[in-house]
C-alpha cells in the first residue's frame, strides 16, 4: 500500500530547522524525516506532511522566506 504525501526539501539543515519551527508555531502538520533516496535534495532531512497541506506549506515557505530546494507530491509506503 502506498500513500501520496507532500515532501519539502532543503539545501541546508538551517532551512529544515526554520521549517520545523515555523510549522510548530503555526500549527501546521508534518515532521522531519530522512530524505528518501528517490528525492534529489541537498539536506539529509525533509519535511513530510499530508498531501492536502501542500498549499498552506507553500504559502508559509514564501511568507517566512524559508530556504527550500523544492516541494513534491510523492508516493510513500504506508
Amino acid at each position: 500500500m502506498e500513500e501520496t504525501v507532500c515532501i519539502v526539501t532543503f539545501p541546508t539543515t538551517a532551512g529544515a530547522m526554520a521549517m520545523e519551527k515555523a510549522c510548530r508555531a503555526e500549527d501546521r502538520p508534518g515532521r522531519l524525516i530522512p530524505v528518501p533516496r528517490s528525492v534529489t535534495a541537498g539536506c539529509g532531512m525533509c519535511w513530510m506532511a499530508p498531501k492536502d497541506s501542500r498549499e498552506v506549506l507553500e504559502e508559509l515557505v514564501v511568507r517566512r522566506k524559508i530556504q527550500i530546494d523544492g516541494i513534491y507530491d510523492m508516493a510513500m509506503p504506508r
Binding site: P11, T13, G44, M45
Partner: protein, 379 residues
C-alpha cells in the same frame, strides 16, 4: 581572587551555561547528520542560537549566522573570503592580530592594505579613511573597540563611508558583542565577526560571523556538511557555505543558554554595570602619582577596559605583583595589538589591562584601585 581579565574571557559564566553544556554532552547527536531525535535536538538548539545572534546583530536572516571557533577564525573567513590579490583594504592601527595577520597575509599575496594611523593617545582621525581611498579599495576591516584601550570606533561613521563608496565593511566585535548595540542594517555593516566567550558569556570555542544580505564570501573551509553529499564543491547556501565539519554543538548549546541569560539581563544593563565599574576604577586611579592611563576617557561610550602603567615598571611585573600580593587577575604585555602599542609608545613596557564584567562588584573594583595605589606609592 578578583578576576579583572574579562576582555580575555569573561569569568565566571552564568550557571545556565554549564548546565546547558552538560545536558548537550549527555543528549546531543550530530546536527545535520541524520533525522533522529538526538540529531534534531542538536540542530534545533544550534538554530535557536542562530536566531538569537541574528536578532542581536540586527540581521533578519538566522541562516546568515555562520559558526566558527572564535573571532580569529571568523575574521580569517571574512578577510580571505572577501579580498584577494589586487584588492585594497583599509584598516586601522587599533587592530588586534586577528585582523592584522590575515591582512598582512593578504598583502603578501598581492593585496594592498593601508592603516588609518593612531596618534600618541591611540585616537584615529576619521578623515583619513577618505584620504586612503583608492580606485581598487574593496573594503574596510576594523575593530568596534580596542582590546587594549577600550576606545570605541564610530561605526556609524565608518559604515556611512563604506556605503558612500560601495565598500564592504567587516566589523571585529570581539570586545563589544553583547555590550554595545550592533545593528548591521542601520550601521551599514556587511559582516560582524564575534566570539562567544567574552561579552556574550558563552564557552570558549564558540564564535562566528553574521553575513549581510548582499555579501558573498568564498568558503573558508570545505568538507563534510551533511548536505549535498555528491557535490564536489562546498554548498553555497549559508550557513553551510561557511561551516565544514561537525559544529561545536555542545559549546553552541552553552552559548545559546548564555544568549538567553543576556537577553533576560539586557545588553543595556550589562553595559551600564560593566562601564560603571570601569569608570569607578578609572576615577580612583587617574590622579595617582606615576600612573599613566591609555585611551580617551572623555568619550561617553567605551568598552569596560582600563589600561595603565606604573612609572617605567615592566607591565608583566606589575601584573604578577597584583596577583601575588593582592590576588587580582589582570593582563599585562602586548595584548596582540602591536600597531597600537607602537602608537602609544608602550612597545617595550607593555601595559596592564583591567577589564570588567557583569559578575564583578564595586567592592572588587575599589580593592583593585587600592592595590594600584599601594604599588604606585611604592615606586
Amino acid at each position: 581572587m578578583i578576576y579583572l581579565d574579562n576582555a580575555a574571557t569573561t569569568r565566571p559564566k552564568p550557571p545556565v551555561v554549564g548546565q546547558a553544556i552538560l545536558t548537550a554532552l549527555e543528549g546531543f547527536g550530530n546536527s545535520g547528520r541524520g533525522a533522529h531525535d538526538e540529531a534534531l535536538t542538536a540542530a534545533r538548539t544550534i538554530y535557536d542560537a542562530r536566531e538569537k545572534l541574528a536578532a542581536l546583530f540586527g540581521c533578519d536572516r538566522p541562516e546568515r549566522v555562520c559558526f566558527a571557533q572564535n573571532s580569529t577564525e571568523a575574521l580569517n573567513a571574512a578577510i580571505t573570503g572577501l579580498f584577494g590579490p589586487g584588492d585594497h583594504v583599509i584598516s586601522t592601527d587599533r587592530e588586534h592580530n586577528s585582523v592584522l595577520r590575515p591582512l598582512y597575509r593578504l598583502r603578501a599575496q598581492g593585496g594592498e592594505v593601508d592603516f588609518v594611523p593612531a596618534d600618541r593617545q591611540g585616537q584615529i582621525d576619521y578623515a583619513n579613511f577618505e584620504k586612503l581611498l583608492k580606485p581598487n579599495t574593496k573594503g574596510v576591516v576594523c575593530t568596534h573597540a580596542s582590546n587594549l584601550t577600550g576606545d570605541v570606533t564610530d561605526i556609524v561613521r565608518v559604515g556611512d563611508f563604506c556605503r558612500a563608496h560601495g565598500l564592504v565593511f567587516v566589523l571585529d566585535a570581539s570586545q563589544t558583542a553583547g555590550v554595545l548595540p550592533i545593528d548591521m542594517a542601520a550601521q551599514g555593516i556587511s559582516v560582524v565577526c564575534f566570539t562567544g566567550h567574552k561579552s556574550l558569556y558563552g564557552p570558549q570555542g564558540t564564535g562566528g560571523l553574521c553575513v549581510g544580505a548582499d555579501v558573498e564570501l568564498r568558503p573558508f573551509k570545505v568538507g563534510g556538511t551533511g548536505v549535498q553529499s555528491f557535490s564536489e564543491t562546498q554548498p553555497m547556501e549559508y550557513p553551510t557555505r561557511m561551516e565544514a565539519g561537525t559544529l561545536n554543538g555542545h559549546g553552541i548549546a552553552g552559548l545559546n543558554a548564555a544568549l538567553d541569560w543576556l537577553n533576560e539581563t539586557g545588553v543595556d544593563r550589562v553595559r551600564a554595570h560593566d562601564c560603571s565599574l570601569a569608570r569607578r576604577f578609572y576615577e580612583n586611579v587617574k590622579k595617582l602619582p606615576e600612573v599613566t592611563i591609555y585611551g580617551d576617557f572623555s568619550a561617553e561610550i567605551r568598552a569596560p577596559i582600563v589600561t595603565l602603567n606604573l612609572g617605567q615598571r615592566d607591565s608583566a611585573m606589575v601584573s604578577d605583583e597584583l596577583e601575588r600580593r593582592f590576588h587580582i587577575a589582570t593582563r599585562p604585555g602586548a595584548h596582540c595589538a602591536p600597531r597600537l602599542h607602537r602608537a602609544l609608545g608602550t612597545e617595550e613596557q607593555g601595559a596592564v589591562r583591567f577589564s570588567f564584567g557583569y559578575f564583578n562588584t564595586e567592592a572588587e573594583t575599589d580593592e583593585a584601585a587600592a592595590a594600584v595605589k599601594t604599588l604606585a606609592e611604592e615606586l
